[in-house]
């Protein structure tokens, strides 16, 4: 009932001229149906598109994405070149070649930060994807079947929640190091660890949406029409969990990027020649180096903070748009 009122209110509010808003007498139930279907997402979109912070976040996210795919668009230097770092340029100031100058080892600060985007985003995206798959499997099965499956999955969730992400990450990444893995192995390990430990919140969100959707009349109706478990789960229940799930996963993506940077900062993550913001911050943040030249610390910090911020704002704004309580 309240949902319908809400829809009707926004319908009045937006007052878009069109067939959906027309009070045509003959096809009234049908038009009502289409206007409602349109409103659920269109309404949220309408709300989102008027928020400047949302557009800023989208823009930053897109820039980071392009930077990760085509770093050469942003800089003409190549960090794999033999003469990329030269001690003769140690802490040299900004020039036409390097707009933020050079760091302690004479490397171009800006180019390094640009090339750091790829690893961060690759790790963030694939870890979020992995976490998302695990969360949907865990949340859907435990919420839908309940009983002992729910009990087992919930205890596993408790156990994983008992392991702080950075602590477990430190231990596992150290093992990868000891086993002599290269940077590709480290990236894969990052995806597995962050995804494997970071799915719990999303799983709980999916579980609770599934439990509330399961008792709805339309699900009972679908069951009576003879729909099987898998059809009910995928076609009727999962779409309900989609919006809150996407919000949690978007925010998780931001926190995975931050976790990668933290672990690389602590020296167990990506190693040179791979570029990583965390590792650049780690190298530049030694107290003696900060005193002489803080720029190599500020540049990768800004890149990292803006990227993480973009995803967190994105998730937050989408949640606000979809959550009627916050309007």
């Amino acid at each position: 009932m309240s949902e319908f009122e809400n829809v009707a209110a926004t319908e009045l509010h937006t007052a878009t001229p069109g067939p959906a808003g027309e009070p045509g007498a003959p096809g009234q139930p049908k038009t009502l149906e289409t206007s409602k279907a349109r409103s659920a997402t269109a309404d949220a979109w309408h709300d989102l598109s008027r928020r400047p912070l949302f557009w800023i976040a989208v823009l930053i996210g897109l820039v980071a994405l392009v930077m990760a795919c085509f770093p050469s668009l942003f800089t003409s230097s190549d960090p794999t070149a033999r003469d990329f770092c030269a001690l003769s340029r140690q802490n040299a100031g900004a020039s036409g070649q390097a707009i933020f100058g050079y760091d302690f080892q004479g490397c171009d600060v800006y180019t390094q930060a640009v090339y750091g985007a790829r690893n961060s985003l690759v790790i963030g995206f694939f870890a979020a994807l992995f976490a998302g798959v695990l969360a949907v499997i865990a949340g859907l099965t435990s919420g839908f079947f309940g009983g002992w499956i729910d009990a087992v999955v919930s205890r596993v969730t408790d156990i994983v929640l008992g392991l702080p992400l950075i602590l477990a990450g430190l231990v596992i990444m150290k093992r990868v190091d000891n086993a002599g893995g290269d940077n590709t192995a480290r990236i894969i390990a990052f995806v597995l660890i962050l995804g494997g430990l970071g799915w719990t919140t999303a799983a709980r969100v999916v579980r609770s949406s599934v439990i509330s959707a399961k008792q709805q009349d339309y699900v009972q109706a679908a069951r009576m029409l003879g729909a099987g478990n898998s059809r009910i789960m995928w076609r009727h229940i999962l779409p309900n969990a989609l919006a809150p799930f996407l919000v949690v996963i978007t925010i998780a993506l931001g926190s995975f990027i931050a976790a990668e940077a933290s672990l690389s900062f602590l020296g167990v993550g990506l190693k040179p020649p791979a570029q990583s913001w965390g590792q650049q911050i780690s190298q530049a943040s030694a107290i003696g180096r900060v005193r002489t030249n803080p720029i190599p610390l500020i540049v990768p910090s800004t890149f990292l903070a803006l990227t993480v911020l973009a995803f967190i704002i994105l998730g937050d704004k989408i949640r606000e748009a979809f959550d009627p309580k916050l309007r």
Binding site: L53, R155, V156, D158, I159, G162, L163, P164, L165, I166, L167, A168, L170, V171, I172, K174, R175, N178, A179, G254, A258, A261, S262, F265, L266, G267, V268, G278, I281, A284, S285, I287, V290, R291, P294, L297, I298, S301, L304, A305, V308, L309, A310, I312, I313, D316
Partner: protein, 309 residues
């Protein structure tokens, strides 16, 4: 209530066994080279010594038996000795007070600033203060500690030296103030948003309307009726937040050169001192679990509406 506590304790034992098992598996499941040779360093190890050490450290036992030994040692607070020959338990207890000081500053900052700002924003929802704090907290949540700590040190320790940039051993409260505030920042933002949401929700609740219509002064309605109910989710949050506080403490302690648990973990990781790493991580995980248990029990005490049956 009693049944709830018993059930919660039983669940906690299960979680404890599960998490320590994962930690143990990660630490000991192969790939470390020859542990006995590592222990002896460069010196050759004779067959008799090897057999003796294998016996002493249970190397030839099956995996689960070794896990059992690890678990009983952990419960007896016997964490073995570091590669430098000092008992790991001593190393941890030596550094624990510093980390505790750092964490208390962080939690105090969270409670004082987060809850105050949250209550004000929740009462005047939609106002200027509310909108500004919402944007500011969002930005703070989005900036990871790994950025916040070095930039904070650069700004307030080096550029404008209000606080000391690094700490001595043992650290004083004053030296820990800046790192403590930085560590608490992240939780401040989340605590503020949680308080705001629950205050504005409780303000619309029936019991608040009743209290108002009885003529109870506004100050008392907010201070007693609204606040008490709004603080319940905050208590839970602080328990859960302890986990990310630990991760943050490792970074902050490294940046500000604080000789706490985080720094111990970082140093022993880079030196490859496995016994210290295993011991520290195990102790931290146990602390985290116990904190969460206490929070869960507090939750039941604070909220009489909840009946755990």
């Amino acid at each position: 209530m009693f049944r709830y506590i018993v059930r919660r304790l039983l669940q906690m034992i299960l979680v404890f066994i599960g998490t320590t098992f994962i930690v143990f598996t990660l630490m000991f499941a192969g790939g470390e080279g020859d542990p006995i040779q590592n222990l002896a360093g460069e010196r050759p190890v004779s067959a008799i010594q090897r057999a003796q050490l294998e016996q002493q450290f249970h190397f030839n036992d099956p995996f689960l038996t070794r896990y059992w030994h690890y678990l009983t040692d952990l419960l007896n607070l016997d964490l073995g000795t570091s590669l430098t020959g000092r008992p790991v338990w001593d190393l941890i207890t030596e550094r624990f007070p510093t980390t505790l000081m750092l964490a208390s500053i962080a939690i105090l900052v969270t409670i004082v600033f987060g809850i105050t700002a949250g209550v004000i924003a929740g009462i005047r929802r939609g106002g200027i203060f509310d909108n500004i704090t919402l944007v500011v907290t969002l930005i703070i949540i989005g900036i990871p500690t790994v950025v916040l700590a070095p930039i904070g040190q650069l700004l307030f320790g080096i550029k404008w030296p209000i606080f000391p940039a690094t700490a001595n051993n043992p650290a004083t409260w004053y030296e820990l103030l800046l790192p403590g505030i930085i560590l608490g920042m992240l939780s401040v933002a989340t605590a503020m948003r949680l308080t705001r949401a629950s205050v504005s929700e409780n303000l619309r609740a029936d019991f608040v309307r009743t209290a108002r219509s009885k003529g109870i002064p506004r100050r008392r309605v907010i201070g007693v009726h609204v606040l008490r109910n709004s603080l319940i989710p905050i208590v839970t949050f602080i328990g859960v937040e302890l986990g990310s506080l630990m991760g943050g403490a490792i970074i902050t302690e490294r940046i500000f050169n604080i000789t706490g648990i985080g720094n111990l973990l970082y140093k022993s990781l880079s030196l490859g001192d496995a016994p210290v790493v295993v011991g520290t991580v195990s102790v931290l995980v146990v602390v985290f679990l116990i904190a969460n248990l206490i929070v869960d029990l507090l939750y039941a005490v604070l909220d009489p509406r909840i009946r755990y049956e």
